[in-house]
Symmetry: C2
Subunit: 350 residues, 2 copies
Amino acid sequence: MKSEEIARLAGVSRSTVSRVINNYPNVPEKTRERVMKVIREYNYEPNLSARVLAGKRTNTIGLFLYSIYDIQSPYRIYGNSYFAPLVDAFVDIGNSMGYYMLVHTVYNPDESWRIRQTFSQKRIDGGIIIGTEKSQEIESILSKISHPIVLMDCDPEEIRKIANPKARIAVINSDDEQGIHAAVDYLVELGHREIGMITGRTTTYSGLKRRESFVKRLESHGLTLDERYMLKGDFTGRSTVSEVESLIASGKLPTAMIASNDEMALAAMEAFKRHGIRVPEDISIVGYDDALASSIVKPALTTVRIPFFDMAKKALEMLEELIESDKPRFMVYNADVGLVVRESCTTINT
Amino acid sequence: MKSEEIARLAGVSRSTVSRVINNYPNVPEKTRERVMKVIREYNYEPNLSARVLAGKRTNTIGLFLYSIYDIQSPYRIYGNSYFAPLVDAFVDIGNSMGYYMLVHTVYNPDESWRIRQTFSQKRIDGGIIIGTEKSQEIESILSKISHPIVLMDCDPEEIRKIANPKARIAVINSDDEQGIHAAVDYLVELGHREIGMITGRTTTYSGLKRRESFVKRLESHGLTLDERYMLKGDFTGRSTVSEVESLIASGKLPTAMIASNDEMALAAMEAFKRHGIRVPEDISIVGYDDALASSIVKPALTTVRIPFFDMAKKALEMLEELIESDKPRFMVYNADVGLVVRESCTTINT
DNA sequence: CTGAAAGCGCTTACAG
DNA sequence: CTGAAAGCGCTTACAG
């Protein structure tokens, strides 16, 4: 079934059918009804490729995930407390906004040509990119793409510098400063003076930002930073365990620790417990992300909750705006976060 | 950049460029190289819509998820121990096989026109449908689609009857009988004679199959089924709690229970614990799916592991076969499952 | 308000 | 082995 047959059956030309399909105003109600009736009757659906080739939008959005895990790991996305809820939210909200969502994972930075390809093939109207680490990666992507793009977890200032002045870009983050401040303030309020951190990869914007915010906030409370309490994680649980164990081996522990994400917080809790160090009695732990597991585990993890759903919504709305506008734009959004207090922290009596 | 320019730059016709792009044999190596050089130099990427319109494949596969949760729930997919790992695996494997993956959630069965639309618009070469419940739903989808489709968690015999004889369909399940048998046998071996079950929605193929397998296996062990021990769950944790609480209120408990998925098993464990009933000392619990949380929780949950990755791989391979063949086909695959023994069951001394 | 015609960027018989 | 031409199914100025 094609528009020509619809036209014939409705006694009009293909032009008019097209006008009806695209909801143009210059069609009398009667004609429109007649055409619509035939369309409905035959369950006619215009051929996407033909429409796109003739200049219409694809109504498809690309969602690209740079994974930090091995392809091997069966848990790479859904086990990731940052990616998983985002993907979900994006697919859901995108669908409800009428978009088709093309989801793509890229493992190797070298594979970023895939992203460019998706655009060059005109598969999508716009793209969302999550998980890039090095700005050169982003730069090489941005330099070749003139389509609307939303970047998540990137330094807005850096992107602004890198980006082509006629690009259409939005950068979306959650407010890491706010989150870390809330966590530090909470611990200080509980009486903690010796607070450590398990950092995430600092090649990541949030990894770096959380670390920096932590250091500054400690300072503003008049607390001194003990470098021995700064464990270098990479956002995975595995990296955390060995770091925690050498901390334990050092014989001296902080009274509280903030982890840059929940996976590391959970791994740290396990490691401490295994060594007879009780959470929260001997050490308080705060996580980041509010992963599913965090409320299941005992003690339930106090953590910073990121509003993934709202972020995805905002991202899609901004992307839509970029798609519909043909002027260069540079938008930035920083989502509010909040501390979820559960059971993994306690007051300290000195 | 379009093929015409490539042709001009390489000193050939568009036909030849097309032949090179499509890797047709009737092009001398020298010509091919010359064309390829220009293509690479300009990073040329053929326009997808034009190719599809001219009769080529889209190289895109649709992944449709019927969600049982409210749109509201931010955890709908990634919190689902069945959907989440499957989506991951599908996107990953699909990508690595060279396909683009279109992911779509449908909440309302009425929304199934979305699936049909995706096909009619020629957006995808084939589709994978997960989570349909009533066969009439599937029937209405199948009746309107002549493209290759993979169905997961459906009764093969029923589909065979429903399906158009010239359809290209594959049905993929995990072996529920095997899984439930393993669970029952394990419990019997531990000495249990009074075994209950928390069933999933029996409008679901696996929900029904697991229940039936359970009943039969009990019989074959010479055990009698106590209807009071058959709790009617719907695969969600929430439904489980009230069922478990009325079981507890009845004053009589089985010594072991098998849940049709981990979410219910976990919820049951929580509920029992809250009422002072210890797992596994007072009651043994077996789950199904092997969700992420199941190994984190204390006691760690003994459960049936479904090989999601292998299933997705098989599904995509079969789908590819269906896409490449133009003959009607009906394929069935049943994946092996295995019991993962952890800490939630114990021997019983009578 | 409406139709004929050109054009979107490919592929593929067809002819040579 | 290769090019000219038709065709895929739409949309959109253009002319009326």
